[in-house]
Amino acid sequence: MSEQTSVIHDIGYQRYSGPRLGRGYAVRSLYEHSLRTAFGVGRGMKSKIFPWGVVGVASLITVIIAAVSSTAGQRVISYVNLVDQMSVLIIIFLAVAAPELISRDLRAKVLPLYFARPVGRFDYVGAKFAALVASTWMAVGLPLVIVFAAVAFDADTVGDAWKEFTLLLGGLAYVLVLVLINAAVAMLVAACTGRRAFAAGGIVGVYLVTLPVSVVLSEIGTGAAQNLSGLPSPTMTGAGLRYWVTGDGPIDIGGFGWLYLLVSLVLVAGSIAVTHARYRRVDS
């Protein structure tokens, strides 16, 4: 008969004497956690369906484009034009991620737990915004990388591949601009309600209302009115910036590039400021 040798030791409570990292680490941790949350990592299957669904759809479209490009021996659509075609995917991903990152915390009243720690309201808003931008950028940027991979491996010379790579960077930069502007608006909408369905509806609603306004103004307007028609819509404001830089795009903004830049900056900074102000009212 074997003797029982294992013993459970109750070592009691241990004080923690290890390092305590500062506020920067706390904010970074919140950012990482939010980034995981956006893709449903560390959560149930239900949380993964929507974000990965968007990534899947985007990838499927681009795999087809990549296949066609590969067969044709050249890219059938430029990266920036592809981004314009996928702008609705940016909105859909934001409508999934922003309520998950922001409305959910409001609903569960988690904020007092954060604000009782070395994380301020501005840190919280900043980390959430950064995670929202990064996750959307990754989700929508991935298809561009797929197209690049297909085309670059087909390139005849290293020079061609390098040229392709710079074009890819341009496309990714354009995605980032569109994501920054739309994410700021999405965050503001999501911070207004604790109900995720309302937040998602609001984010899509803003897109669906502002885009037609912009399109109609562009159709009926002439001259300067037409050049300024992109400003009511966050997405078209971003498209205007593309025109300013590349001289091409879905909207002709004439010489108003600086105004589009100003509106973009005001939109981003304003949304962050209003969201921050909103959290001052949240009971902690």
């Binding site: 009691g12 409570y13 241990q14 004080r15 923690y16 290890g18 390092p19 305590r20 990292l21 500062g22 506020r23 680490y25 706390a26 941790s29 919140l30 956690h33 560390g42 959560r43 149930g44 949380s47 959910r104 915390d105 569960a108 009243k109 988690v110 007092p112 737990l113 954060y114 604000f115 009782a116 720690r117 070395p118 994380v119 902690s284």
Partner: protein
């Protein structure tokens, strides 16, 4: 070291509501009960301690630090358990507490280890990997407590920790708090509107009402000198009262029993026994009756303390 020290602390909200008025106190380490009715100013007091609200006037020092000037340093040494539900239902307790440990500044590995350990200390084992949404109220309260102490604070602020619990759950939570305060070496401020409940576990007590300090003292000081000895004789209660009066002890009769104020030392017992023996009375019971703290307040025996510093 003094745990919390305030001088003339006043908080006036913009709407004109005075939440705290001229609060001056000094709290020594231990388990401190902060009692007062709803709206007495307890939550405001906690928010000022955490540096979430600026005081209108007066000063406050927590663990020797000014929470308004150094909120980060104060918050990394203080743990806070909010009164209301504050847990995301779709996360597991292990993941949430690990995450919050990192927000408190613990490196990744340490955060994970301390989260498991702390959840074990509050009595959550395998359940910690389940989503919080499926937890009972008692388990949720334990998770809230665990997240407050996962970073090993020097001071725990517990806001109504027994809220929503059944009697058994209340007892378990109070025992746990008592253990944290005595065995773990963490000082605790427990807010409650139920005095009878926390007087069992606290070492000192602060009572506030309408933002004003009602009383602040150690529990021992509040109860001992007010204890009563209860003497029960089968017959001749009046004889006993008279016999005690002869020996210089002011007793009074209450039905079958005779109530005698307990002195500072044990000599009163001897006097009573002498009187009983001398009169040849059949003694049925001799008992020390602890006064409940709540009686001290209902009887309006709280001394006038305005403007003076009370060391708890």
């Amino acid at each position: 070291m003094t745990l919390i020290e305030t001088t003339a602390l006043t908080k006036r909200y913009p709407a004109g509501v005075v939440a705290l008025s001229d609060l001056t106190l000094a709290v020594q380490p231990g388990i401190v009960a902060l009692v007062g009715a709803n709206g007495a100013g307890k939550s405001t007091f906690i928010k000022i301690i955490l540096g979430l609200l600026p005081a209108t006037s007066g000063t406050v020092r927590v663990l020797g630090l000014d929470p308004a000037a150094e909120p980060d340093r104060v918050r990394s040494r203080v743990g806070y358990m909010p009164e209301h539900d504050c847990l995301p239902p779709e996360q597991s307790a292990a993941e949430l507490v690990t995450h919050l440990a990192r927000i408190s500044g613990l490196p990744r590995t340490a955060a994970r280890e301390r989260a498991s350990e702390t959840l074990r200390h509050v009595g959550l084992y395998e359940e910690r990997y389940r989503q919080i949404g499926g937890y009972s109220t008692g388990m949720k309260q334990r998770v809230k407590l665990a997240q407050a102490m996962v970073h090993d604070p020097d001071l725990l602020l517990l806001d109504e920790p027994t809220n929503g619990l059944d009697p058994a759950g209340r007892d378990a939570m109070l025992d746990l708090i008592h253990r944290i305060g005595t065995e773990f070496g963490i000082s605790i401020v427990v807010c409650s509107h139920l005095l009878g409940e926390i007087e069992r576990i606290c070492t000192s007590l602060i009572a506030i009402d309408g933002g004003k300090l009602l009383r602040a003292d150690t529990v021992a000081a509040m109860t001992t000198d007010r204890d009563v000895l209860l003497v029960e004789v089968d017959e001749g209660a009046d004889t006993l009262v008279a016999a005690l009066a002869e020996r210089g002890v002011a007793a009074r009769r209450d039905g079958h029993t005779v109530l005698v104020p307990a002195g500072a030392d044990e000599s009163t017992y001897d006097v009573i026994l002498d009187a009983v023996v001398a009169a040849g009375l059949p003694l049925h019971r001799l008992d020390r009756q602890r006064r409940r703290l709540s009686e001290l307040f209902t009887n309006n025996q709280a001394p006038e303390i305005k403007g003076s510093v009370l060391h708890v």
